[in-house]
Each structure stands twice: as structure tokens, then as C-alpha cells.
């Protein structure tokens, strides 16, 4: 009988290998469900899931909502503009309200790292973190890993490079934790200003030359460059970022082999990745989106039906 050891999914830091493997294996099943004429199963009938989004998100929220509805859960969406929330007290108020509404699961996104864990400790529901500040975004990393596993058959021993703003990226952090746990070789690459200090302590290699990184890896996960970072002085101009770190067809053509291209979206075409790469044959970006729904169904199923 296969069950997760975790009761909530806050991050991939510390999640055992068996749990990640179980989630990825279960995802295979749900991917098959998404190919059926009726893309819905009754498994979470009678369960209520709240999508608690304190930060704007379109694709992650839609992906979670589809996953929840395809498992027949009752879904409540709760979107709060960041401005209306003053952290701390009002978060706790929200927690008490959730508890009073007798929901079963909470999917939560917040701009503050640790917000999901904060509420989890004060509620009885099961929590799934849909992104908290620069901390973690575990379901995104799981769908990236699932995509890689389908591409290469295994995660063990494959070389994965994450390129871009590693410093502010919860996607990068979750990917590093998860991939290292699963036995992949992980590297990060980006301008030194956007690499966290001591990132190598997480067991990852560090590249500052994109061409060296691309030559080393089997797959590259290209992170979105948030346009406002330039104003923060992390790099001079978007054009310079593109010239030095952009994943271009020209760079890929220079490699001796084909590598897989991942991107968590949304894409800044012409900044961190060129259009012909994003839409090219090596790109698995749209597959990632499909896998996202299946991965979230797997997580919701495994946590939502876990026996007490």
C-alpha cells in the first residue's frame, strides 16, 4: 500500500525520495485520465478545496482548479489583492476563517516566504503550497521533474541546468531540492548578481558562462527574467541579458547534441529565450503545461485520500 509520508506539500526540501517517486508514478495515471473522453474521476467527491491566492497567478491557479475539478472536488476560489493584506494578523484571521468554513484542502500562494507554513501550523486542513515568495513552488518543480523523467526515462544521473534569476526564484529552489534528492546532477547559471551566495552548498554546480552550461547539460530549465529586476540593478539592460545569458538557436546549434528546453512560463520572448527556441523541436514547454494538471491531480489525490 503506497502512501505519502508527508501530510502537506509546503516544499520539496526534506521530502523523501519515495514520496517524490510516488507522486511522479501517480502522475502517469492521471495523464492517462486526461486523454479519456470524460476527463473526470469521482475520487475527491465531497471534498472541498480552497484556492487561496494572495498573489496574482493565472496559469497556476487554472491548472490547480482544473486538477481539482477533474477529481470532482468542490472548488472555492479566494483571490486577495496583495495590497489589501497586511501580513501577520490578517493572515491569521484568514486562517481562522478557513478553519471555520470546514474545508478539506487549501492551495495557497503568497508573496511572503513561509506564509503557507504559517497557516498550516494554525489550521487542520491539508495545505499545498502554490508558491510562497522566493521560498518554494513544489508542484512546478514536480511537473518539471515529471517532464524530464518522461523525456529521459529517469532522473538519476541526468544533467539539468537552471538558467536565470536563481536568487529570487522559488521554482529554482524547489527544482534544486527535488532533483538532487532524485539523483540528478544539477547546475545553476546566471549573472553572479542573481546567484544566491553559497548556492553550491545545496549540491549544485555553478556556471556563469551560458555556453559552458549548455555544453554540460542534458536539459536546460530557463527561468523568466522579471523585467523589474533590471531596475534593481541586477543587470544593465534586457538586451545585454539576452546577449550574455539568452538561450538562442545559435547557441543550441553550436552544441554537439540536442538538449531539452524547459521553461516554467510565462515566457519573455527575446529576453531569456528566443521565439524559435521556445517554439522549436527541442522545447517541451507546452508538455510541461499539460503535465502540470496531471501532477497536481496526483498531489491532490495522494494528500486528499490519505488515510488518517
Amino acid at each position: 500500500m503506497a502512501s505519502l509520508t508527508i501530510d502537506h506539500l509546503i516544499g520539496l526540501d526534506g521530502v523523501p525520495r519515495e514520496d517524490i517517486a510516488l507522486i511522479l508514478d501517480t502522475t502517469d495515471t492521471f495523464l492517462e485520465v486526461l486523454d479519456r473522453p470524460v476527463k473526470k474521476v469521482p475520487t475527491l467527491q465531497g471534498k472541498t478545496v480552497v484556492n487561496l491566492f494572495f498573489e496574482n497567478s493565472t496559469r497556476t491557479r487554472i491548472s490547480f482548479e482544473l486538477a481539482e475539478r477533474r477529481l470532482s472536488a468542490d472548488v472555492v476560489n479566494f483571490s486577495v489583492g496583495t495590497s489589501s493584506v497586511s501580513k501577520g494578523e490578517s493572515l491569521l484571521d484568514t486562517a481562522r476563517n478557513i478553519e471555520a468554513m470546514k474545508v478539506d484542502m487549501v492551495v495557497m500562494r503568497h508573496s511572503a516566504a513561509g506564509a503557507c507554513e504559517f497557516l498550516r501550523r494554525r489550521c487542520t486542513s491539508r495545505f499545498i503550497n502554490a508558491g510562497d515568495g522566493a521560498h518554494e513552488h513544489p508542484t512546478q518543480a514536480l511537473l518539471d521533474m515529471f517532464t524530464l523523467r518522461r523525456e529521459f526515462g529517469t532522473l538519476e544521473g541526468i544533467n539539468v541546468c537552471i538558467v536565470g534569476d536563481i536568487l529570487h526564484s522559488r521554482v529554482a529552489r524547489s527544482n534544486m531540492f527535488g532533483l538532487v534528492t532524485m539523483g540528478a546532477n544539477v547546475a545553476v547559471c546566471g549573472p553572479p548578481t542573481l546567484l544566491p551566495r553559497h548556492v553550491d552548498r545545496l549540491g549544485v554546480r555553478v556556471f556563469t558562462d551560458i555556453d559552458e552550461a549548455l555544453a554540460w547539460c542534458d536539459a536546460v530549465n530557463v527561468l523568466r527574467i522579471q523585467l523589474e529586476r533590471r531596475a534593481g540593478g541586477y543587470f544593465p539592460t534586457l538586451r545585454e541579458y539576452h546577449d550574455v545569458y539568452g538561450v538562442t538557436a545559435e547557441r543550441l546549434d553550436r552544441l554537439s547534441r540536442r538538449i531539452a528546453i524547459l521553461h516554467p512560463g510565462p515566457i519573455n520572448r527575446g529576453v531569456e529565450i528566443d521565439s524559435d527556441v521556445a517554439d522549436g523541436p527541442q522545447s517541451v514547454i507546452l508538455r510541461q503545461v499539460t503535465h502540470g494538471v496531471a501532477v497536481r491531480m496526483a498531489v491532490l489525490y495522494l494528500l486528499g485520500t490519505k488515510t488518517e
Binding site: P37, V41, P42
Partner: protein, 181 residues
């Protein structure tokens, strides 16, 4: 402590599969529009055997599918258990076909109930016909088999095991009586 009684041996098991295959073909006046779907895990092996027999009798290889009903089980929804969920594999359209649904043991009927729900989500079959190797009684739902290998009167403390070469090394049916020590 438990006591095992062999009810059907290997030659008997093979004759039973033959009879079931003949019954299916006879009842459906041949094999046109027939598809065969096994319930994970043991029903799949039984389904393969029946399919081989029908191929030997009629010279027709029926489309074979695999159905996993975990997501449709009422005991999973009630948090009574969390079994491993595995993929279904039905690589053909079941709409307007006669679906031969195969399982090893028919007991409470709850697995078959889940399977019916699941199948309807794959399409709208013309008929669904149920084949089981053993009907051991104790139904909790109004469900019956169309083709039965053997009906065995059992008590709840007993267990019926359908042995299969693929997993157990030999074919047969055992009645296991669990005794309190």
C-alpha cells in the same frame, strides 16, 4: 493458522477457461464488435487467457484493454484505504462495442460497480458482460456475472484464491479457511 483446499487443479482450470470462451462466443453469435477488458491486476491475466482461447476457437484476436478502478472505489473516497493507483490502458473506442469485463473473483460487487462507472467514462458500450472465474457470494450490491467459472459457497472467514501461472507459477482455485489460533 490457515487450511488450504484445492478446488480446481490445472487441467480443470484450462477446461474452465475453454468453456467460458465458448460461452462468450456462443452468446454473442461470434466475435464481431467484441472487446475484452481485464480488471487490474488478476483480471488482466484471466482476460488474456480467455482472449487466447477465443483466438484458438474463432481465429480472431479481440482488442484487449486494462482497467484500473482505484479512482472510482468508494472505499478510497471514504478514506478506508489508499491503494496504489495505476493507469488504465484501453487503446480503442468502446462505444457501440460489446465489452467483456473480466475479473478473477466476484465477492461484494463493489469492484465491479466501480468498473461500470469507469467504463462509462470511456464511452458508451452497447453491452457490458461480466466474466468471473469464481463467484463466492456475499454480494452487497445488485450485481451478477454473465459467465461464471465456478460458484463456491463460502463463509466470510474464508478466502478464495485464483492461482495464475503468470504470478503464482501454477493455475487453480484454492479455498483458504482462516482459523483463529
Amino acid at each position: 493458522m490457515s487450511e488450504t483446499q484445492i478446488l480446481i487443479d490445472e487441467p480443470g482450470f484450462d477446461r474452465m477457461i475453454s468453456r467460458l470462451a465458448h460461452e462468450i462466443v456462443e452468446h454473442n453469435h461470434g466475435t464481431s464488435d467484441l472487446v475484452i477488458i481485464g480488471l487490474r491486476t488478476r483480471g488482466v491475466y484471466v482476460a488474456r487467457r480467455i482472449r487466447e482461447k477465443i483466438a484458438a476457437i474463432e481465429g480472431v484476436e479481440l482488442p484487449l484493454g486494462v482497467l484500473d478502478v482505484t479512482l472510482y472505489r468508494d472505499d478510497v473516497r471514504q478514506h478506508l484505504r489508499q491503494p496504489e493507483v495505476r493507469a488504465s490502458d484501453i487503446p480503442f473506442d468502446i462505444s457501440d462495442r460489446h465489452v467483456i469485463l473480466v475479473d478473477d473473483v466476484l465477492f461484494t460487487g463493489r469492484t465491479v460497480r466501480s468498473a461500470l462507472d469507469a467504463l462509462i467514462d470511456f464511452g458508451r458500450p452497447r453491452t457490458i458482460q461480466l466474466v468471473v472465474i469464481v463467484d463466492r457470494g456475499h454480494r452487497e450490491l445488485p450485481i451478477r456475472a454473465d459467465y461464471t467459472g465456478k460458484t463456491i459457497a463460502t463463509s466470510r472467514g474464508q478466502e478464495v484464491r485464483v492461482r495464475l501461472r503468470e504470478v503464482d507459477g501454477s493455475d487453480g482455485i484454492d479455498l483458504v479457511t482462516l482459523q483463529d489460533t
